[in-house]
Amino acid sequence: MAKTKFDTPEFRPYPTVPVLKPGVMKGNGPFVAKPDMQEALGFPGELIDDWHDVAIEKMGDLLKKYRSLRVFLDSCVKCGACTDKCHYMIGTNDPKNMPVARQDLLRQVYRRHFTLAGKLFPKLVGAKDLTKDVLDDWYNYFHQCSQCRRCSVFCPYGIDTAEISMAAREILDTVGLGQKYCNEIIPKIYKIGNNLGLPKPALANTLEGLEEDIKDETGLDIRMPLDVEGADILLITPSADFFAEPHIDGLIGYAKVFHQAGASWTLSSYASEAANFGMFIGSYENMRKVSQRIRKAAIDLKVKRIIFGECGHAWRVAYSFLNTLAGPFDFLDTRYPVPQHICEYTYDLIQKGVIKLDKSANDHRRLTFHDSCNVARGTRMGDKPGGQFDIPREVIKACCNYYYDMEPDTIKDQTYCCGGGGGLLTDDLIEIRVKGALPRMEALKQVVDDHGVTHMAAICAICKTQFAKVLPYYGFEMDTVISIHQLVGDAIVLTTEVKTPG
């Protein structure tokens, strides 16, 4: 863990188009996955000899499988709308971090092999052969994309760089060049049940300890049930909620909400992970395998409902893909959304008056909210458009007296990534993580200066860890970031006599 050797970007007096610094983020990319990690996911252990042909063949497969990929690679008109929309471009000034340039890394090879003009007149249409240099650029720059999809909001054609980046990583994995961070983690889910590698006895011990803490704090027996067969609700939450700060206070918040609602709920040691890194590496097979565990846990525990905790990309997988990956979920109670987000659940209880919140309990905090990219641009909550923006805010506002939004072009569908999403939350990528956080830190600085904001709430384990790490680089305290359900947990009025659920 060597000391960092880079400068944290300066806050800009006002947003400007960055002065380009070509090649400034060129490098070897993140640590490469070891053979055992690769093989556990069904990929070659190391870069294979015929990587060129296999990569082209894989690209052809993906083009057939995902029509969208071909459309995205064909339809760019180089209008330039995306160029200054990427947080990594803004933070690094490297032109290859322009979304269009990132896409072009793949597009140039696509044109060479899959378009007539590129086959006949490569130079005229910007087509290029897949050389080792190009492959290295793929590995480096497709791991400087957090798949946050902000650029696609501004693209007149809706080109989704995330999907291109996922395809590139899938090709890289297929030729044996995988990223250590993601590919070390996914096999732990298969083996142990979660990204952390937290075995059941350790999970049980952690939950018991938390029950004791809550008892000390409230005097109440608020449970954190594990593997309870016949419970109504299965809570699927990121394993970081069991381990890290400030995440764990969010977990305590969920438990208080379930307790006060009189709900019967359980965690599962088999599916003790909401996160699904299969999406980050673009591997449908691995995404499906991870999702299937949730289905199995729901069946084995005979639950009626599935609720997801605060995890950004998990909610995208859950909301947008779970039914096709692991459905149908016709064995669940169809009167409730399948699946449901914990914010939807809490919001509903607030609306019905099942839980009461004492806003003054959070009077020592002045809040803002960071929309997590996958929630904001890949999902919805509730039954109205924009529910994924409104419901978390309504929950926060029900918990506190002081709430201030950041600048409109940095929130909701235009939210900036925290800088650590998409499989980039690893120490070997700390430079790009710190630099990519610049636009969010600037927006935070403004509400801190203008409104005295003390805390930024989030609903994603990656966002929370990333901010806890990078906030100090920008002169903020690491505990400025907080879980929405910590606010709920602090404001909720607990009674010994619980109401029947509405």
Partner: protein
Amino acid sequence: MASIDVNGKSVEVDEEGYLVNLSEWTQDAAKILSAQDELELTDNHWEVINFLREYYDEYQIAPAVRVLTKAIGKKLGPEKGNSKYLYELFPYGPAKQACRFAGLPKPTGCV
């Protein structure tokens, strides 16, 4: 693969400086790993390292930060049972840096 020299014995570490074989850990190895981060281990550091190793022996994983702070609060006094204090001891984070010195694998995931 990189290695560190512990009293003339070569001990393998991964690219992030974590021991590859947990069984090769010794107190001297911890001192060498901490010296790489320009940290001198005090008694309070050792309380944390020893607790991590005991917990790992029982559960095959490092404790949650909350479990660690509670345990340290009991041992060193309630004013030290918080993550701020642990960050003073281990500036790169009690979970990751302290695990490295204790010879445990790096906690993985969104942590």
